[in-house]
């Protein structure tokens, strides 16, 4: 177990939360999501988000629609569902708790 692996595991763990948060604000297609993550300096291997999106969609937390694009293939715009919103608020609560707990432990 090296440090990179641990880092990537940590990122993976919060990736779901981040994606749902991004989509909670605005529908987006995968490249946009990646752009947002990149802007936020959250380094993820692109490949990880595709299985994740499909899994969230299969869990009915996300939905999608196809939209024509002027510059390439049609885009798959993901939107958050009501279930997804409920799920997200649960995650938010957990995240806040974790953040508090972690900062409490690390700054002690």
């Amino acid at each position: 177990m090296n440090v990179e692996n641990t880092q990537s595991q940590m990122r993976k763990g919060i990736l779901e939360y981040c994606i749902l948060s991004i989509l909670d604000k605005k529908e987006a297609y995968p490249s946009e999501i990646l752009e947002r993550l990149d802007l936020a300096q959250l380094k993820v291997v692109e490949g990880t988000i595709y299985p994740l999106l499909t899994r969230l969609k299969n869990m009915k937390l996300l939905d999608y629609r196809w939209a024509e694009s002027t510059s390439g293939p049609p885009r798959k715009y993901y939107t958050i569902t009501e279930d997804g919103k409920a799920f997200l608020s649960e995650l938010e609560r957990t995240w806040t708790e974790l953040q508090l707990a972690v900062s409490h432990i690390t700054t002690l």
Binding site: V45, T48, Y50, P51, T54, R55, P73
Partner: protein, 503 residues
């Protein structure tokens, strides 16, 4: 200058450098493999391909329209290694855990090694048996019962073709992991290269012809094996079982081949040469058939096979020589023809009634015995061979009497022996007034052997005289097709069942 490949990803056309295409193709295959356990893997792949289209479009400009290997490497670097795609994976520990799982082998058709539809190759991969043996068994069932054909069509229809590398690995029961994938993809690359080479040397058609020739040679090989087996079984039956199957009666039972042989050969030494020859021929033919069949089926060529072929070739020649010696002996002992005749009766009057004589006339419980218990054409009883069928020949008498002569003929090594054998022939008859009671069989001693012994009766008929056989007029019996109304059949033949035929 580089070769390019034209493809489309999610409906968007691209021109790829050949190497770039190979790299992308193998990457997508690996992804498919890694993602296959994931629910909705097709969807994920679609998403990934869409992303690739985007990334490629970002890189291409009007001045750079061809996708190069470096671009693909860059995109792959961005998307991540195939292992990264499974978000559940926690590192190396799990990979090894996956490897320990029992592999679920699946039956696929193997298009890479296919001759027709890849069914046999697939079954071979599944069962881990050499494909040639599977094909041999298949062709055997096809040739013997024809069910092989139907079975093949059904299997062709229901077994899926192994399309992806992961299918091919599962077909062989190998673990689907990245290492095996690489080797499988390497195999595929080699096959493609080989195929390309063959195409370049313009032998693509030749290779398909050689495929057909291969099938034909396997079929011929199977026939050779079947033929060899048939001869082997026949030889075993002939020499060791020696069943009584010849429909000739020997002291109340059927004759065997060897009983029959004993009635042909004059000396036992000739007979043993003959059998030794048959044995050598059988061994040689069986061995040669097997060698030939095995060589055709397996394409196996070794020097010792050639030595064996030569040895059994010599065996065959020796066998043929011995059998020919036996044949020549029989031929020589039948070389000379001998005929004897004897006047046996002179009958006055204008009518002669020939009747079939029943052999037994004794009564049992008031019943007269009609059958003689002899079903075969040849019967051997009390040291004599009984043959069926008597010939009758009619001619004009020089006076007013019927003159009946018995003529016996036989073959022999010398004229004396032929005449002696002819004199040994016996035929039972009896005369009562103008009735001639005739047995339909004649006999000679078994020690005389079969030398084409025959019996006929010459009957000279006075003018206006008539002959009846079993109340049926047989002479004169005018030939209907003839132009002349007076032309009559001159010959009659009474067969073993008492049937009369004329010519």
């Amino acid at each position: 200058m580089n070769k390019t490949v034209s493809i489309h990803l999610q409906g968007i056309p691209f021109i790829f450098e050949e190497q770039a295409f190979d790299r992308l193709n193998s990457y997508l295959q690996q992804l498919k493999l890694v993602l296959q356990k994931e629910e909705g893997s097709d969807e994920i792949l679609q998403d990934i391909e869409l992303r690739m289209v985007e990334l490629l479009q970002q890189q291409l400009t009007p001045f750079k329209q061809v996708v190069e290997l470096s671009m693909i490497e860059q995109i792959i670097g961005k998307l991540g290694k195939p292992e990264d795609f499974t978000d559940e994976s926690t590192g190396t520990n799990e990979t090894s855990a996956v490897t320990d799982e029992p592999i679920e082998k699946r039956l696929f058709r193997d298009g890479d090694r296919a001759m027709i539809g890849g069914v046999c190759a697939g079954v071979a991969a599944y069962s881990n048996i050499d494909v040639v043996i599977i094909r041999a068994i298949y062709i055997f069932t096809f040739l013997t019962f024809g069910i092989g054909f139907l079975l093949y069509i059904v299997l062709w229809a229901i077994i899926p073709m192994a399309k992806t590398s992961s299918d091919k690995l599962r077909m062989k029961g190998q673990h689907v992991n990245i290492e095996n994938m690489k080797s499988e993809l390497g195999d595929a690359a080699n096959r493609i290269k080989k195929g390309a080479k063959e195409l370049k040397s313009n032998s693509g058609i030749q290779s398909s012809i050689s495929g057909i020739l291969r099938i034909i040679s396997v079929i011929i090989g199977i026939w050779a094996l079947l033929f060899g087996t048939g001869i082997f079984v026949f030889a075993i039956v002939f020499f060791f079982v020696n069943p009584d199957i010849i429909p000739a009666q020997l002291n109340g039972r059927f004759m065997s081949f060897q009983d029959f042989g004993g009635l042909l050969f004059e000396s036992t030494s000739h007979e043993s040469y003959f059998y030794l020859g048959i044995a050598l021929i059988s061994i040689a033919v069986v061995a040669q058939s097997y060698l030939f069949g095995i060589r055709l089926i397996t394409q196996y060529k070794a020097t010792y096979l050639k030595v064996l072929i030569a040895i059994f070739g010599v065996t065959l020649v020796v066998g043929v020589i011995l059998v020919s010696l036996g044949g020549v002996q029989i031929g020589r002992s039948m070389a000379i023809y001998g005929e004897v005749e004897k006047e046996i009766a002179t009958i006055p009057g204008l009518e002669l009634n020939i009747e079939k004589k029943s052999i037994e006339s004794q009564l049992i419980d008031g019943f007269k015995i009609k059958s003689n218990g002899d079903e075969g054409v040849i019967t051997i009883k009390n040291g004599r061979v009984y043959l069926q069928g008597i010939e009758l020949v009619y001619s004009q008498s020089s006076d007013s009497l019927f003159h009946i002569k018995q003529i016996n003929d036989s073959q022999g090594r010398t004229h004396e022996s032929a005449l002696k054998k002819a004199r040994n022939i016996r035929c039972a008859y009896e005369f009562q007034d103008n009735r001639m009671l005739l047995e339909t069989m004649y006999s000679f001693p078994t020690s005389d052997k079969f030398r084409d012994q025959n019996v006929k009766f010459m009957i000279a008929v006075p003018s206006g005289g008539k002959i009846f056989y079993e109340k049926l007029q047989v002479y004169p019996s005018f030939i209907e097709e003839s132009d002349s109304t007076t032309e009559t059949y001159q010959h009659g033949y009474i067969s073993n069942d008492g049937e009369y035929s004329k010519w």
